[in-house]
Amino acid sequence: MSPSCVETRTACRMAAIKALQQWCKQQCDGYRDVSITNMTTSFRDGLAFCAILHKHRPDLIDFNSLSKENVYENNHLAFRVAEEKLGIPALLDAEDMVKLRVPDRLSMLTYVSQYYNYFHGRSPIGGLGAIKRPPEDTIEEPAGKKIISHAPPSQPHPAARTGHAFLKDNSVIENAPVRAGIKEIDSNGLVSSKCTVCGQHVHLVQRHMAEGKLYHRNCFKCKQCTRTLQPGNYKVGDAPGTFICSNHHPGSTSPVSSNAAPSGPYKPVTAQSGQHATSPASQGQANQTPSSKWSVASQPVQNGASNRTVVGFVGNNDSTQSVGPTAGQPGKVMHSDSLSNRSSPETTNRTAMGFYKTHKDSQNVGNAAEPEDPQKGTPASRTSETPPRVPLNIPAQAYLQSLKGKNDNTSSSPQNSVQKEAKKDPAASGQYTSPSNFTNTSTTLSPSSSGRWSASPVVKNEPKDDYSSQKPSSSAVKTKEARDKFFQSSTVVAEPTNNQSPGGRESPKITSSNGPGRPAALTPVSTKPEGQGEKEKARNKILMAIPSSPKSPVGTDEPKSDFFPPRNVDMSQGVSKTPVQKEDTERPIPKERKSKMPTSVPTPEPTKNITASSQPQSTKNTTAPSQPQSTKNTTAPSQPQSTKNTTAPSQPQSTKNTTVPSQPQSTKNTTAPSQPQSTKNTTAPSQPQSTKNTTAPSQPQSTKNTTAPSQPQSTNHTPWSSHPQSTNNKPGSNQPQSTNNTPWSSQPQTTKNTPGSNQHQPTKNTGSVYLELMKSIPGSNHPELTKTTPKITDIKTTNTTTPEKYPIPSTTGLSSTSRVQKGDNHTPKAQTPSSKVSKGEGPEEWRSMLKSVKDKPAAPGIQHNTEKPPLKEDKASPKKPISTTTTVINQDLSGKDRKPSQPVAFAPWEASKGDHKAPVVTTTITPNPSGKENKPAQRPTSPAAPTKEDNGEAKASNMPPKKKLLIVNVDLISDLPKPQQKWQDEDARKETEPIRWRSHWGSDEDASSPPAVPKDDKQSPYGDGYLKTSSWMDNQKGTSQTKLNSEYIPEEYIQEELQIIEQELDYLELRGVDMEKQLRSCDGDDSEDSLMVDWFKLIHEKQLLLRRESELNYISRTQVLESQQVDVDTELRNLMKKPDHMKNAKDRAREQELLEKLVLIVNDRSEIVECLDEDRIREKAEDEVMEAMMKRHSDSHQPKESPEPNLKKRSRFSISGLFKSKDKSKT
């Protein structure tokens, strides 16, 4: 700014500022070489900081050893000590102090105010600061503490909220690196004001210093899971400059890693086009979250979409539309991600973590998918993500949007072209799909589905869709598709396992290009080159699929289902993918196609759809559903189901791929679906579809679910219908979405644009998805399927193992649904729906889908299915919920529409509640010749679609299409259940929401309110979702987590709230950025002081949010620890029961190990208690200061005459008072 002016001003009027300066002057009184005459240059040499620190904590700094000349050393010392010892985030960089003759005044003010706050008992801006009280204060700190701290270094220090605490541990060492980073940054331009990850300017509010490097808070993500890293919850990653969730590692590292990879994809997604290119790199880095903040940012979009939230969503949408979603958006997204991440890591309790991780994985998968096709891929990924988290839905929406864009494009004119492309691709995609189908199914679908997804999102976002549609032109669509494919493949790949096959998805076209990205993304090992990656992925997928499939059948993942489901799904997908993998490229393609498909999809759609759907499913399924699906898809599990399905499936496959799922159902469905499709295509597809769907769904479900699900299947039916659509559409699914979106037509487009679109439209509400699926399946799909079949056959070989695949192929949705359904038919459906949604349009379609399902019976078939399924599922089995979740998700997606994200996220919820679901978009892309991807998107609708598709496919082409499950939503849902909802709402309102938020904020300035507020605002819309989610969470936890304490807060709730907080933080940061601009533009005029007050107020709001966030994280972590303790205790007791003479060395070692572990857990728990206490104390002081500040502010405004005096007095008052009290306490 204008330092000189500032100085003069400072001297003059700024009450608040002057008060601050006055305080500093007091503190530095008596220190040599320290003279505070302004708030800039007086601090430049760092001695002032050191003096303030020394005054209060003489033990921390040897002031006499300092020299005025050592600017860097002085500042560095002060910043480091303040951060490490006091928890005051280092907003400033010593480098800057050296380089800038006149330090940035606002930065200085903000930073110094933290000192003021801290030493007054108020916490520093970051809120972090764990104020470590002098030992003298209390005798409390037990030796145990120390132990604890050591033991769980990674664990969040309560104080560390900002992560500073963390830094504290690493302190010096870390700082060094930081410097380097900073320097580098500096070279770029303004001193270290660039985010290490995204390279964008970091505004004061967004500042997050870690390891000496500057980040956007949102960019500071886990390399593996892409979640925003929370203060004490991260640790340095393997790769330099990367960070990962501390909880992550232990818990579900592998998944996480895979997730991380996904994140990479996500990132790409966000970036979309740009990202695509970057995606690979980012993906590679993705794992290294930190490094690839950009990617993260992009991811955010995706993730954000999925997780976070509206904002992210919006951002995503925007981004998708425009590419780089603006930093802000990405940031937002990132937030959501971070939230989710955070939640997962932190809270999460490990279980939760597991979930999250799974979610993440799924997300990743989804992301991966997304990455491939930014739009499509994203959609897929989003969808997959969405399931887990509501936010996912958003992402899904974003995806959808992107997809929509694509779809729109496609739909508009592109459709044909797209379709053609799709067809072309489809063949490939179809093949690919098969590989990818498992995981990729979604991807495959993604193409179409993505389109649809986007569409689905779009649906929700419809406006966005329009945008997307507008933006992307057919060509654009193509490019997008390519990108999508790319991302998808990458994402898929990243996804862990199978998804890579997604790469396969990409494979078609993108694959190769994507390959690299995928590998990185998919495999934690980013190393895999794309080409290799694909193969490897395919192999991995296959392997994965196989194992997973078995497992999946088991429903192992269920507990984690949300998260795991994705994984499982992946697995399942992987299985299916395995085949797919072979076909991977195909599948990936499918997804991409799906996403892209929308554009080109028409033909390919089926395949794509299938893949996509399968994927989603896989993701969702991962949990339970996925397993089922997987089983179906890939392996034996499916066999049982498959048996049913198989038989049918094969047929169905023929139609579509068959989707196996559908197969059984498909048999029925198949016929029906195909008919429906035809019908749909022709005319009343919707009806047929509905009929088909209904039947099919149930069947599919049954097939997929084999078991009870079948009923759910009915619910699924809807989905199935969607599936069919998806299969057909991938396109189909997309179509459904498109139907919903009609505009989106992408689905229709994909499959048969017109019909599809029409259908979609019709279906939309009712069974748009169905229609879509139907359409997609029947017409295009079948052809494609048939075409693909050959490929599929290959896949079949692989797939064969998994009949499901066939089904999947038919409709990814089916497969996915089936998978999902495993758990519950619903899941599949849900997935399918989701996929559909995603494909269709994102939100809109979803919504319509959902609505239709719920609201409308016929078309609704799907919806009904969704609704019913959830219910059934819920009713049927609480645990199932997980599986259900998938289903649910699907349902949600299809049914609810709450927005894709919700569906996805909700899947679990839905399971419990039934509304949300569908996060999982299973897009099974059948490689079918038609190459159509059966619309992965459809898969969202997958359940229904798949069935239909499957049927259709089966009929059309016996060849099993490759299924790609788009589990998009599952992850998201699980992760961001609430957020998702919000997101959805937000998405719908998008821009509006911010305003709302603001308003809320304004009203709710209080920290406590923020979360609540968001909820309230958005809750109403999401209300159901929340509830559902919550219920879902409950179920899951109840089932999965052994401990059900009365006080136990379901992880989901926590995650929801965290997401909300994340959104709020995003909003606050946005506001803060604006305010910073204002502050900088008003040089010392009268408005500055009041602006400063507002500024500090905003900072305080952020603090409050961070507080709540940390509290939630503590709670979550505590719960995880408690459950862990029980486990360890149980094992230890069993060991100790053994008579000593019976014990061998191994037993003793284990006993000792467990005992140590137990102590560590207890210590961790205790540390949390202490951290909470420290926070409480600090917060109390903060509140007092804030209150005083507000009073001053009001005073200054009312009596303008003597604002300063008042301020001074008060400030002095508080200051003196605080100090006194402090001193006293110390003494």
């Binding site: 209390t138 005798i139 409390e140 700190e141 037990p142 030796a143 145990g144 503490k145 132990i147 509290e1111 503590y1114 709670i1115 303790q1125 205790d1129 230890l1132 007791r1133 100790m1136 005992l1155 137990l1158 102590v1159 207890v1162 728990r1165 205790s1166 208690v1169 202490e1170 909470l1172 206490d1173 926070d1175 409480r1176 917060e1179 006293k1224 306490s1225 003494t1227």
Partner: protein
């Protein structure tokens, strides 16, 4: 929520194995009782928020294993405790005799000014009583600490014991923080209080 309290106190229970430390804590924190004996492994704690003199006090009650084998683990937690409760079993004379050893352990490991309290548990089993109440009172008086006979099973005096200890700590803290010079007074007052309480009990 998690932070809606005014003070956080850390209490620690020690005593021979089987005297009922865990049962006392469970009774206090969860108001439940389990007859089956499950020896504590190492260390654990439970949280309960109580209200004393209008202040919300969050009590973190540490439960230690009484077995000798875990002693190295448990003694590490003495230091962080603001209040230590010594527990013996009135039906087990040896556990009462060992109180002296536990006192010694406190002296060696805990902070100097830690608040202490003596509890004779299982007072519901009057038939098997081996340690007369007056012996416990006498011992408490010797150490100038409070004494209660409690029963985790019947819930007798459990809340009273914990709340009394928390109250003493609270008083100690407020005195200390208020006039810095009153610390000395605090102790004396506490002592007097203790004696009073003992008589009351």
């Amino acid at each position: 929520m998690a932070k809606s309290y005014d003070h956080l106190f850390k209490l620690l229970l020690i005593g021979d194995s089987g005297v009922g430390k865990t049962c006392l804590i469970v009774r206090f924190s969860e108001d439940s009782f389990n007859n089956t004996y499950i020896s504590t492994i190492g260390i654990d704690f439970k949280i309960r928020t109580t209200e004393i003199q209008g202040k919300k006090i969050k009590l973190q009650v540490w439960d230690t294993a009484g077995q000798e084998r875990f002693k190295t683990i448990t003694t590490a937690y003495y230091r962080g405790a603001m209040g230590i409760i010594l527990v013996y079993d009135i039906t087990d004379e040896r556990s009462f005799e060992n109180i002296q050893n536990w006192m010694k352990s406190i002296k060696e490991n805990a902070a100097a000014g830690v608040e202490r309290m003596l509890l004779g548990n299982k007072c519901d089993i009057e038939i098997k009583r081996k340690v007369p109440k007056d012996r416990g009172e006498k011992l408490a008086k010797e150490h100038n600490i409070r004494f209660f006979e409690t029963s985790a099973k019947s819930s007798q005096n459990v809340d009273e014991a914990f709340n009394t200890l928390a109250s003493d700590i609270l008083m100690k803290i407020t005195k200390r923080s208020a006039p810095g010079a009153k610390e000395v007074d605090l102790r004396s007052s506490t002592k007097t209080k203790n004696s009073n309480k003992c008589s009351l009990v």
